[in-house]
């Protein structure tokens, strides 16, 4: 009995190492393909989202001349950047996950490559890329506006990871569902606009009338965004009844479970195409 147990553990570890190798190979492929599409190498990959971010900041920075969430106007750049980065991260992961199978079709030639690995690789690349962007842009803001507020780094970090996990779970779910019923892919692009307006990218939950708050506070993106702002500056007001990391975490766990459950039931269909 003891030997059997050990054998099982051994095979599980071996499986993990195998999968790690496959994912790292896919990450390599992903980065190489991305870099081959743009100029200036790795910097070119960052250039496009960096440009979008700057334009967003300029436009909404001009519009929002008042302070927000109990803080004065100097917090606005950080306020905006949290919203835009987290929202883009969320949808970038979901949409790239949905397209992961199509883009890596040729590589299912090697039986070691499973559809979930292609998603994992993309989530990994996207999470890293946006974390890098996030750091660059916040540093730039700190330098340009000569403010420095970073009260709760662990909270920001935890929120970032939780949001990435949530989008991984939902991305996997939509990938499988979209493969079986292509109309669902349309649903994702449809829901993107309303969520853009209600995820609190341009406003704080506190600015919304009390009775409307429950309609948008369920949104995990809004939760992550508000919490991250709070992480930057503790004086940024959040309502602990409505915004909590426990809720975000629960949402992430549920979505990952859902995604992986649906995936494991359909893996064969996804591979045979």
């Amino acid at each position: 009995m003891e030997i059997l147990k050990n054998k099982k553990v051994y095979s599980i570890i071996k499986g993990f190492i195998k999968q790690k190798n496959v994912v790292s190979a896919l990450v390599y492929r992903e980065l190489k393909t991305r870099i081959s599409l743009v100029r200036f190498g790795f910097f070119g990959v960052l250039l496009q989202p960096l440009g979008t971010l700057t334009i967003f900041l300029l436009i909404f920075g001009f519009i929002r001349q008042r302070g927000v969430g109990g803080l004065d106007v100097s917090f606005v750049p950080i306020f905006l950047i949290c919203g835009i980065i987290l929202y883009t991260l969320f949808f970038e992961i979901i949409i790239r996950s949905i397209n992961a199978i199509e883009a890596n079709k040729a590589l299912f030639f090697y039986r070691q490559v499973k559809p979930i690995d292609t998603i994992l690789a993309r989530v990994y690349v996207e999470t890293g890329l946006f974390a890098f962007l996030f750091i660059i842009v916040t540093c730039a803001i700190f330098l340009i506006f000569e403010i420095f507020t970073l009260d709760d780094l662990p909270l920001i970090f935890a929120n970032y990871i939780i949001l990435a996990l949530t989008s991984f779970g939902l991305g996997t779910f939509f990938m499988v569902a979209g493969h079986r019923y292509p109309l669902i892919k349309l649903f994702v692009t449809l829901i993107q606009r309303p969520l853009f307006l209600t995820s609190g990218i341009f406003f704080s939950l506190e600015n919304i009338p009390q009775r409307f708050q429950p309609f948008i506070s369920w949104n995990p993106i809004l939760q992550a965004i508000e919490m991250t702002r709070h992480g930057f500056n503790e004086d940024y007001i959040i309502n602990p009844d409505k915004i909590s990391i426990t809720y975000s975490l629960a949402f992430a766990i549920v979505s990952c479970t859902l995604g992986l459950w649906v995936y494991s039931n359909n893996e064969k269909i996804l591979r045979t195409l």
């Binding site: 190979a25 390599y28 030639f109 591979r271």
Partner: protein, 267 residues
């Protein structure tokens, strides 16, 4: 050792289920290289894909305790936008993780064996057919498997490359087994001891390739005869004259229907 048990594979075409094979079972022992023979569309490649783990059967299972290659000679598995070097690195990373030396060793081997010069660093989608088959073959030979699945490999390449292929295959044969598909039947003879004929979803085993080839040719001819006789008996195929007359008949029918309708409307 490969053991295949009750393998069934089918696909649906025009709402009708067609079986590639039904309840297929066989066993290949370690140390035996097998030639898989069959006419076009008999399901040889499908069988290889299933054994290689790229395709899934409807039911049944493949048991093995050996490392099995992907079907050598199939030109899949390459990302078109990446160069051969990057593709090779990708595959090496799957097998070796981040061991830099081993990966470099594989890359050097493929570059050397494929011998396509500066094109090794150009995007794969721009390669000619010959270059593609050179790189795919070189990549398959870079890794050591216990059992190689080989699908129509000697079809491409100039004669120097073909000689190189034959040489390395013979070398590989000392340490691993082959499961080969090839329409150039006599090229199978020096490499395989056994032969399986795949005909109408059934496997016939032979211990002697020569006999198998004879039987295969007989089967092909008889299949062809059956097909052509079926064609002759096919009632849909009519002579030109009868088609003409039946068209005329249809025309008359239409006229009758038309006149019926007119009558009804007049009423």
């Amino acid at each position: 050792m490969i053991e295949v048990k009750n393998l069934t594979k089918s696909y649906i075409h025009n709402g009708k289920r067609n079986y590639v094979f039904k309840d297929l079972s066989f066993k290949i022992n370690t140390g035996e290289s097998v030639a898989l023979i069959g006419g076009n569309g008999a399901g040889k490649s499908t069988l290889l894909r299933i054994i290689g783990g790229m395709d899934f059967p409807d039911s049944g299972k493949v048991y093995t305790d050996k490392k099995i290659s992907w079907p050598v000679g199939l030109k899949g598995g390459f990302q078109g936008s990446l160069s051969a070097r990057e593709n090779t690195k990708f595959v090496s990373m799957i097998f070796h993780g981040n061991e830099k030396e081993k990966i470099q060793e594989k890359i050097n081997f493929v570059e050397d064996f494929a011998d396509i010069g500066k094109y090794f660093d150009k995007p794969f989608k721009n390669y000619s057919d010959g270059m593609r088959s050179r790189v795919t073959f070189a990549l398959s030979m870079a890794f050591d498997f216990d059992i190689y699945l080989i699908d129509e490999v000697s079809a491409a390449g100039d004669f120097i490359f073909r000689e190189k292929c034959a040489k390395i295959l013979k070398k590989k044969l000392t340490s691993s087994d082959f499961l080969m598909v090839n329409h150039n039947l006599w090229s199978l003879k020096p490499l395989c001891q056994k032969a399986f004929i795949l005909n109408k979803g059934k496997i016939i085993e032979f211990d002697n390739i020569q006999e198998a080839i004879k039987e295969h040719k007989k089967l092909l001819r008889s299949n062809k005869k059956n097909q052509s006789s079926r064609k002759q008996n096919n009632p849909n195929k009519k002579s030109r004259r009868s088609i003409y007359s039946s068209k005329k008949l249809e025309l008359n029918k239409n006229q009758i229907q038309l006149s019926d309708r007119i009558k009804r409307e007049i009423k």
